[in-house]
Amino acid sequence: MTQRGAAGTDPPDDYLEAAIQRLLTECTEIAEQGITVTRRDHSVLLCGEVESARRREEILRLVVEHFPEVPVTVDIGLIRTQAPTEVEELR
């Protein structure tokens, strides 16, 4: 018989990405749909871009709070807001 983790202990890997993705969208404190969640070896990598540094911190805090067993790596950037230096000419 194959070994399985006891029910309710390890987060079931195949559902972890979906669970984190829905958490980030449906928790209205965050409401982020643009974060990609990828499993890497034994950790989870969060990638994407957000509108403020506070949102990046909130995302990390929320994921750690809900999935305390899962090591999390965050690579989330801030979307730049400089004025454009070029225009697009449409003829």
Binding site: A31, G48, E51, R54, P84, V87, E88, E89
Partner: protein, 257 residues
Amino acid sequence: MVIRIAAVGDVHLDQDVVGRFRPALEQLPESADVLLLAGDLTRHGTESEARCVATEFGDLGVPVVAVLGNHDHHCDEVPAVIRVLEDAGILVLEGTNVVLECAGVRLGIAGAKGFGGGFAGRCASEFGEPEMKAFVRTTSAIADQLGEALREMDCDLRVALTHYAPVPDTLAGEPPEIYPFLGSYLLGQAIDSAPTELALHGHAHAGSERGTTPGGVRVRNVAHPVIKQAYSVFHLHPPYAGATAGKVSAVSAGGSS
């Protein structure tokens, strides 16, 4: 006369973002005649977030015209959100239009949030469960309003503004599995039913900038994470599509010049 259009979508504002766009926006009147906001203006559609949008995008010195996005609908406070935006002088289009006078040129903007359903050959159909039929009917009703709003304008050039995408081209970069949640070909069909010059949308944060409808209308995804700047500026040069005889055969009389 060249018409200069600035546009951005998906700014997802809340208190924590207020002020970030403002330095670039102060320069906007020098480089654009109008600013179009392509939906998802708020983080999740509260009245207080709408006040943040009003603070950030109000009093710019150029007309600001917006559509709402799915995030702006989340808290079911749409009437309050619209009221706050309109009190700040930001016009919200919902299957409606506006004609602005820009340096002697009548710029017509028709806007609608849009909805999903997918693209030709890979799209949802009005068939089966009531929920499925309601989903598809929602999109087709919005697309009909958008088409009508585009065709009925008496103007020199037409711009279509939506939140959801009218073509799959500008979704490149998004997982193909979620395309049906990102837009609908029905919006593209509506845009092609009038001699539209440019179609702007947001929503697809991981998509790409450029596309074209089957009818040849240029489409640009101006979602903030895609353009990676405060806004993009497009210069529309005459002769405009509305003046190109025979480009679209289904234009109502008096709809173009």
